[in-house]
Amino acid sequence: MWNYSKKLMEHFMNPRNSGQLPNPDGRSEVGSPQCGDAMTLDIEVDDDDRITDVRFMTFGCAGAIASASALTEIVKGKTLDEALSVTNEMVVEYLGGMPEEKFHCSVMGHEALEGAVRDFKRKRNTVRKHLEAMFRDLSWDSAGVLGGTPPGIAHVHPSRVLLEFPGDPGEGAVEAVSRELSGRVGRTVEVKVKR
């Protein structure tokens, strides 16, 4: 048996934030080349880039399960940048230490977080790219509702965008943009109006 700390064992036996989100804003799947173990990590992110929810699933040892659990507890409520600055050592310390041979198990959690943030940013970039293309070239069906003047892009999120209209958005404009954008992205993207 490994010499695991009380706190590590407690996280292993009662993992926090396990499971998956139905519609994650970012998801990753990573595996450890050292041992063949693997995990998934889902994040939900608000419009301030803050992690509002996070879930993990792990196929791995007690060290891997506990460090994934600890990581989710640490990063929940942090901004993406803050979360990414959480190091492996911090997770190990949070758990009251871990046998050195087991460090690779906690590395997996960190890689999963990086992967989920990367997935979030990739999804967000995809939405932004499509939105910019839609506003550059107003030739799509029902682009007419924008009256030739596209709104400004205030904020982009993988599942919603905040638009700034010069005046009052015309009748059905919000719905039309959302419909076209969702079609292009391949997933429902909500459109909100910045007042």
Partner: protein, 382 residues
Amino acid sequence: MKAYLDNNATTMIAPEVLEEMMPFLTHRYGNPSSFHSFGGEVMKEVEKARSRVARLIGAEPEEVFFTSGGTESDNTALRGGCSINPLRSGLLVSMVEHPAVLNTAKKMMRDGTPVGFVPVGGDGLPDMAALAEMLVPETGLVSIMTANNETGTKFPLAEVAEIVHPSGVLLHTDAVQAPGKMELDVKAMNVDMLSLSAHKFHGPKGVGILYVRRGVDLPPFIVGGHQESGMRAGTYNVPGIVGMGKAAEMALEELSAVAGNMKAARDRLEEGILESCPGASVVARDSDRLPNTCTVLFKGVESEAVMTILDMEGICVSSGSACSTGEIAPSHVLTAMGIDPMTANTAIRFSLSRYTSGEEIDVLLDILPGIIEKLRRISPYA
């Protein structure tokens, strides 16, 4: 501890064995090689032990050499067997051998010995056609275990001998897992060398034997004094040897009485697990297996996590992975059988002994399903 289900790792010492050893740990401390009768009387006990072990495997006492255990016996058999004839220094071993054989073979290969690794099928049995094809004129020794320590699969040694012997090749078998669980007869198995280790059948740790068929011209294992006919020098490990003798006698006497019970208990454990743990499957279930062993794959659940919880509950089992260094390498036995590395990481081995009680199995069956269920809930692969 509530349940000890790791008897393929080691077994408890039988009370009768300990009792026979005690005088040699206390007042009968004479050196068997001494001139005086205080030592000479002890030699009689060493020879009695040799005869008991010989009877266990159907050999002559002169063909039994005491060693420090299974690992030494395997090392000696491989290195010695390949050095008898310089023109026949080649070695073939199965891919599912214990590290005592496998790593010796790999080291010998690095040092220049031609070594081949015989593949096994999904049933865990060596591929006989491949073995026959891999035999070449330079092959001097083939080493195939009697029964596998992870899966319990028994290997058809007599069949292997039929392939190997006609071309003048020697056959060694690592029978460390066999005593007390199956019949052993070096004549019927038709082997030239055989390794045993006392602690796997309720004897003490650190003592074993290498059987060497009369006429096999093995070089001395360890050079020094004239003990063991000059084959294996070093003052006798008298308590160990005496203990091994008693353990061998008991293994032989009790085999017919206990093998059935052991199998019934193993089957109850196996069926209990399959019924209560979704996604569980038994490795090599349809093969002829030792009556005490079963390895179960728990889909989506990593074995070390399971063992960690079982350990907290006082239940001892093991996994096939070599995890002591932190790098969990999936079991070479399971991967050789074609099981993918991730699935191999879900393997737990349960191994019983004639002392395993029904309560121990009850405790396991009571606790295990909840553990598997709990870990499956957080697994991405369940």
